[in-house]
Amino acid sequence: MSNSKLRDKLLEVETYPEGLTDSIREVMDMKERPLKAWERPFMILCCVVFGMMLIGVPIWIAIGFPYPITKVPTYIIIGFAFAVVLLCCLLVLMLLSLKRGTWRLRDDQFATYAGAGFVFYMYLGSMTTNRAPGGWDIGAYILFAVLLLKIRIQASELSLREHMLRNELAVAKLAELIAGRTAADRKQSQG
């Protein structure tokens, strides 16, 4: 008897507690439960409103007071506040655009959205301060582009590895089937 078969038989001999499977499933459901259909728009609404309240409102209130002291033009501060709020919205959409609607995020998704958000933020910043992009801005764009590319490559590698494993699995299952069949034939011929 091969060790693999012996192992399978031993596992069958041991009584597996019935309730254990259910309690393990409960643990997984807590982690894996996808958002329901009604939860997604509700979540977007809540997060956007929360983001605006949390970041936008204090900035809007604040610009009224420091102007006499700072003399910073109001449109710059408003532009900045909008950029922050829009960035928050982008973050919310990023989280909700997951395949299964869960809160977990793939590395490549995170890189895409964070990179897009950053570029948008920089662009808006340049617009509101009315200045041309400088060397630091361009450096930051390049850095993010490289980071994005790197993470994208990693994701492609993961996908390739998955395909390779699928093939390996098919071959291994076929080999096991053939081995089983050969053993059965041998037994039959001996018998």
């Binding site: 192992r7 031993l10 894996e32 996808p34 494993l165 699995l169 291994a172």
Partner: protein, 188 residues
């Protein structure tokens, strides 16, 4: 030992879990829940203890699953987490039995089902394993049934490879004695 297709499937499922593929985690748990419970059950005395500890192990595993860097090393990591939990539970209740760990430095021969008894079957082996000390049975389960190398078992158990070899040697000897004694009793 776990078949090659099971090991590949386990690696594939972990990879899919990382890509947020639906159902990957459930399949992964299904693949390993029984072998893991069998291992934990051999380390702990009662079914209730094993059940509680196994549940805790899975909570921890699901929480830390993303920390596994190499998907191929998942089985070894899983059993290591299981052992840590079981030992911590064990220490709360009683001390681990000390084993004779010196005196054997040779190579461990491969497992042969006929090695212990010519009429060995799964029920007998199961009973034999339950008669051994936890340290002995865990080495036999990990090395011969789950197919981990001596180095991997050493990493899981947290001892030197030489100690694992020694434990395997004594465990096989003890298992043979237990089964032979039982066979003699049956004959009488």
């Amino acid at each position: 030992m776990a078949s090659r297709s099971e090991l590949i499937e386990s690696e594939l499922l972990l990879l899919q879990y990382r890509q947020n593929k639906p159902g990957a985690l459930e399949k992964l748990v299904k693949l390993w829940e029984r072998p893991l419970y069998y291992y934990v059950r051999r380390l702990l005395n009662t079914e209730d203890e094993a059940k509680d500890v196994t549940q805790d192990i899975w909570i921890n595993v699901v929480r830390k699953l993303r920390a596994v860097r190499d998907p191929a090393a998942f089985p070894a990591w899983l059993f290591k987490v299981a052992r840590t939990h079981a030992v911590s539970h064990f220490r709360k209740t009683r001390l681990l039995e000390s084993l004779p760990e010196d005196g054997f430095s040779g190579e461990v021969s491969a497992w042969d089902a006929n090695d212990v008894s010519s009429t060995l079957n799964a029920e007998e082996l199961h009973w034999g394993l339950s008669q051994l000390s936890p340290s002995h049975s865990e080495c036999l389960i990990l090395h011969f049934l789950e197919g981990f190398s001596v180095e991997e078992v050493a990493d899981i158990v947290g001892v030197a490879p030489g100690t694992v070899k020694s434990r395997l040697h004594y465990a096989k000897k003890a298992l043979r004695e237990v089964l032979e004694k039982e066979a003699q009793c049956d004959e009488q």
